[in-house]
């Protein structure tokens, strides 16, 4: 029985892979059916997962087993219910309170964390003697890091007209930005091809058995 379901799983995987790939030729009903099934399954999976792996262990179980020690969990529970009021037009305004709380808390937490990790620590990492490190490749890399950071920041300084020496520096900054965009595109291309490789390894290995999975 286990083998039957394993084989069935592979065949369903193959069917849906081809159904989704068929969109590359042109939009068609088979693709649409596969897409709708995927969306429906995902929504259903998330709904069940939220109940069994988030609400029951984090809210219902603690409240049932030790209400006195966990009554504070009623506060997020009430806020959650207030959020659901959004589903009804007449009571939709109630959801603004938990949303405001979430936004306020998130921005407070994130401001501090991002300031430390993405601003202070990143700036500190740029403040170095570029000529240390021994290897000339490392030295060039460190010089590029400092020049790229400075000129990149100057490009985003808009309170002074980009002309003369300032404009030239900003132009160097945009070249650095363009190179980084190119690198990002390269990584994106690699990631997408990797997904295709993953699917083909499934088709050629798990399904057809031409290659070892």
């Amino acid at each position: 029985m286990e083998h039957f379901f394993s084989v069935l799983g592979i065949w369903l995987g193959v069917l849906f892979t081809f159904a989704i790939f068929s969109f590359l030729y042109k939009d068609n009903p088979v693709y649409k059916v596969a897409e709708q099934i995927f969306v429906g399954l995902s929504a259903g999976y998330w709904f069940v997962y939220t109940i069994y792996f988030i609400l029951i262990p984090n809210l219902f179980d603690p409240l049932i087993n030790d209400f006195a020690g966990n009554w504070i969990k009623l506060i997020p529970a009430v806020l959650g219910i207030m959020m659901l009021m959004r589903l009804m037009p007449k009571t939709g305004w109630v959801s603004r309170f938990p949303i405001a709380l979430v936004i306020g808390t998130t921005s407070g937490v994130f401001f501090l964390r991002y300031l430390k990790s993405d601003v202070i620590n990143q700036l500190t990492a740029t403040m170095m003697n570029p000529f240390t490190g021994g290897d000339w490749v490392v030295i060039i890399g460190q010089i590029m890091l400092i020049v790229g950071t400075l000129t990149g920041v100057i490009y985003f300084y808009f309170s002074k007209k980009h002309e003369g020496a300032f404009g030239a520096t900003a132009k160097v900054g945009i070249y650095f930005l363009m190179i980084s965009f190119g690198a990002a595109f390269g990584y994106t291309a690699m990631a997408r091809i990797s997904l295709l490789i993953g699917r083909l390894q499934f088709l050629l290995g798990d399904w057809l058995g031409i290659i070892s999975p």
Binding site: F53, S117, M190, S194, I197, R199, I210
Partner: protein, 280 residues
């Protein structure tokens, strides 16, 4: 763009077909292009090599099947490396499907490591919602956040978690991350707040945003980026797997993309020149 130029363009379906073939053929007929390791992959390898035997580490599986081709080979090679080095692995997941991803790898490996016992050398603590807030709470009191593992076994009955009350007694944290929440949050909390070494593996798409954390501040100790990063790590650990097998296909596909970009640019300049001539 004029209709004339549009008519000269290749039907994009031919490109799709060519890419499909260029990826499929190298998977069947192995070419064996050489794989060079980068400093970032060597840093990750060095971190595991320098971690004392018997240390406990967190590997966070923050991805789902959509990123499996890139991150799963990393996870497998890393867990194997940890078992080889006698490092005890505590699995957490900030993504719900991360739990299954870790279990998939463990079930693949456990036959090769009959001496490794669940609860002593490996444990899966399951999924926790909350992202950055959860990590922060783990740093204050790990046992409050994970009172039991994914099977419902109490944390007090799991020997691997003896003495683990926060991040203090951990060798390092390794995040296999496909987005948010993920490696960025681990850097912000585990390293920048609690000062623990953090390393990780990410998808190719998110790599450019994460690489700056590998810096003199050692916010990240090395980084495995995409399928290439996974293949490099497989090479370093001498365990060729799906990432190594996929690199031939990756290289051929990149070559095809580069050829098409060059062709597109040549065509663009020729059309521009022709249009200019037409106006004159």
């Amino acid at each position: 763009m004029s209709e004339n130029i549009k008519k000269k363009q290749i039907d994009r379906r031919w490109i799709f077909l060519l890419l499909f073939i260029s990826v499929a053929l190298p998977l069947i007929f192995v070419i064996g292009f050489p794989i060079e390791t980068t400093e970032n992959a060597r840093l990750v390898y060095g971190l595991i090599e320098q971690t004392p035997k018997g240390s406990k580490v967190i590997i966070s599986f923050d991805y789902d099947p959509a990123s499996k081709p890139e991150l799963h080979p990393m996870g497998k090679a890393l867990m194997k490396h940890c078992f080889d080095r006698d490092i005890k692995v505590i699995v957490t997941a900030l993504w719900p499907m991360g739990v299954q991803m870790a279990e998939d790898i463990y079930s693949d490996l456990k036959d090769n490591y009959p001496d490794k016992k669940y609860g002593e050398d490996y444990v899966n603590m399951g999924y926790k919602a909350g992202g950055i807030v959860t990590i922060q709470a783990m740093g204050k009191n790990f046992r409050d956040i994970f009172p039991q593992d994914m099977n419902g076994t109490s944390i007090d009955e799991l020997p691997i978690l003896d003495g683990i009350n926060n991040f203090d007694n951990l060798g390092f944290v390794f995040a296999l991350s496909a987005g948010d929440p993920g490696i960025k949050q681990w850097v912000q909390i585990a390293h920048d707040t609690f000062g623990r070494p953090v390393s990780g593996g990410v998808t190719g798409v998110s790599a450019p945003a994460v690489i700056p954390y590998v810096n003199q501040q050692q916010q990240l100790i090395g980084l495995l980026a995409g399928l290439k990063g996974a293949a490099e790590y497989e090479l370093l650990t001498k365990t060729p797997g799906t990432a190594t097998k996929g690199m031939d296909a990756q290289s051929v596909a990149h070559l095809i993309i580069i050829i098409f970009i060059i062709m597109g640019n040549i065509n663009y300049w020729r059309n521009k020149k022709a249009e200019k001539k037409g106006v004159e």
